[in-house]
Amino acid sequence: MNNILSRNNAEKRFKVYGFLAVSTAIVLLGILLFKIFSTGISAFNQSYIGVKIEINNSINSSEIDPRTELRQQLRNMFPELTTRAEKRTLYSLFSTGATYEFEDLLKANEGKTINGYYYFLASDDVDMYVKGTVKREGDSAGRLMSGQLKILDQFEEQNLVELHINKYLLAGADSREPEMAGIKGAIYGTFYAILIAFITSFPLGVLTAIYLEKLAKKNRLSDIIETNINNLAAVPSIVFGLLGLAIFLNFFDLPRSAPLVGGLTLGLMTLPTIVIAARSAIKSVPPSIEEAAIGLGSSKVQTIFNFTLPLAMPGILTGTIIGIAQAIGETAPLLMIGMVAFVVDIPGGPMDPATALPVQIYLWADSPERAFVERTSAAIMVLLIFLFLLNITAVYLRKKLEKKW
């Protein structure tokens, strides 16, 4: 007899391997999410520096150049900085966005006077230092030089450096300046593209599924269609990108970088997923209900649209949401059709040049500025939370609407 003890030990080892495998997968997911969220959470705050603004004449904003005036006010705060280099060092602590904020402040106080401390957007280098992402090493910190640090220290001594909510991140479009870059444009791009993808793939997918499941005679053609759809579901997404490039851009001459083309391409990609999900949903409707309807004298088509389709709808919608969620996260096909351009305007429609959220993530991940790392993570957080909500909706729909037979 084999030693029962060693066999039982082998059994325990095997079980431990399995347990380790599952835990490894879960731990890896945990590390990934933790890394993204811990890096990204700080991007929702933004460093601001307080400046004493004193304008004693009644303000006529059209007459004041905000850039010059803001610099004047800064110089008033630090009369001891006299050389050009020192002054430039002072200005460099602020983002170009500070000028716009100052302009808004002037407009808000049209005809009045201003006297007090107001907070303005700091540059990304200051932001990284304030958040502790870069540490002081010797007399510099990251890209902040000793001169900048000296002035910044004076602001900090007066408690004039604060973290405010980052309003640019969610409400702004892309920018070369990390502190002003936002994902609103990308979200709009994604929205239009997904809308188009849904409009093309959902009706087409559902009609195909109905035809294959309920109307098609079992013959060579229906076999070919079926194999074809199963294989399409596994075609690499980048190949769909090339299809979009060749068909929509080169053949139909549609505009490059437009969400319309991105949406059509993603729609083609999502179609097989929807067909497969819709077919299994339709298959699960018990034939007895259809037989009853046909027995009462309704035609095949009437039965399908009055009974089968409504009953299968929860399943179809669940599958569609999962397919759409995949499409939302897809990047590669969009790179192929040029939705990878640097777009500073919020797109107004599906024909405007735009980028999409995952592509924005890719672009930011590629940017050298340190401050883009946390913003990339923050954009990922937004994407993941949205996908999570979509999936929850899918699960909820399935639970809520699913009839038990």
Partner: protein, 255 residues
């Protein structure tokens, strides 16, 4: 018949699946070298009972039990009892023939290989052949020992499963409705086989067919709704049941 030797004794066994109680205070003695049959309507707990004997119920997450099952004076549920060695001593034949998707030879050699019962290829060959002979299958399949076991007829498959169980030389063989998926001729062969096997083994058989119980078993236990109503010599149970429910079942009033 020699003096009856107690092989398995079940005392006050309760089994629960989750909240639902499946067996209620079962007491039953099973004697060596006899065939004991369990009869009763579907869902009365016959299969549950025999699966407690070789602890196959461990596989069901939600299954709990209390009470005592002693085999040769050892408690089956004692923490020191290893279910793997326990099952080596107890063969089991299932309702539906379940040969592994391997050759006939590998099916029968499965147990001996696991337990390292033979030292040489020759010994293993011999063990496989004798097991197949004991199961009355050897002559039918001797030319195709290395073909898949799934290619046999239902009755042959079931005898293959019996041969597989015999190969590890168990003391007890549990049979869970072994003939329910078979035709009458195959059933007759299995019943003949059971008759021969009881010379060497203790057999517990769950059956739906009262005729079968009457034909093959020395003792019969009648179960109803998770309770053991009555047990005793088959002759007595069938000719002169003590309990009214047993009588109803035997005469076909409960089905």
């Amino acid at each position: 018949m020699s003096i009856e030797e107690l092989k398995v004794s079940i005392k006050n066994l309760n089994v629960f699946y989750g909240e639902k109680q499946a067996l209620f205070g079962i007491n039953l003695n099973i004697y060596a070298n006899e065939v004991t049959s369990l009869i009763g309507p579907s869902g009365c707990g016959k299969s549950t009972l025999i699966k407690c004997i070789n602890r196959m119920n461990d596989l069901v997450d939600i299954c709990r039990y209390n009470g005592q099952i002693m085999i040769d004076g050892e408690d089956v549920n004692d923490p020191s009892t290893d279910p793997v060695s326990l099952r080596t001593r107890i063969g089991m034949v299932f309702q539906k023939p379940n040969p592994f998707p391997k050759s006939l030879y590998d099916n029968v050699a499965y147990g001996p290989r696991l337990h390292g019962m033979t030292n040489s290829k020759e010994d293993l060959d011999e063990l496989v052949i004798t097991s197949l002979q004991k199961a009355g299958l050897f002559n039918e399949v001797k030319d195709r020992l290395f073909e898949p076991g799934t290619g046999l007829s239902g009755g042959q498959q079931q005898r293959l499963c019996i041969a597989r169980a015999l190969a590890v030389n168990p003391e007890i063989i549990l049979m869970d409705e072994p003939c329910s998926a078979l035709d009458p001729i195959a059933t007759a062969k299995i019943e003949e086989l059971i008759e021969e096997l009881k010379e060497k083994y203790t057999i517990v058989i769950v059956t739906h067919s009262m005729q079968q119980a009457a034909r093959v078993s020395n003792r019969t236990a009648y179960m109803h709704m998770g309770e053991l109503i009555e047990s005793g010599l088959t002759k007595t149970i069938f000719s002169n049941p003590e309990h009214i429910k047993t009588q109803d079942y035997i005469t076909g009033r409960i089905g």
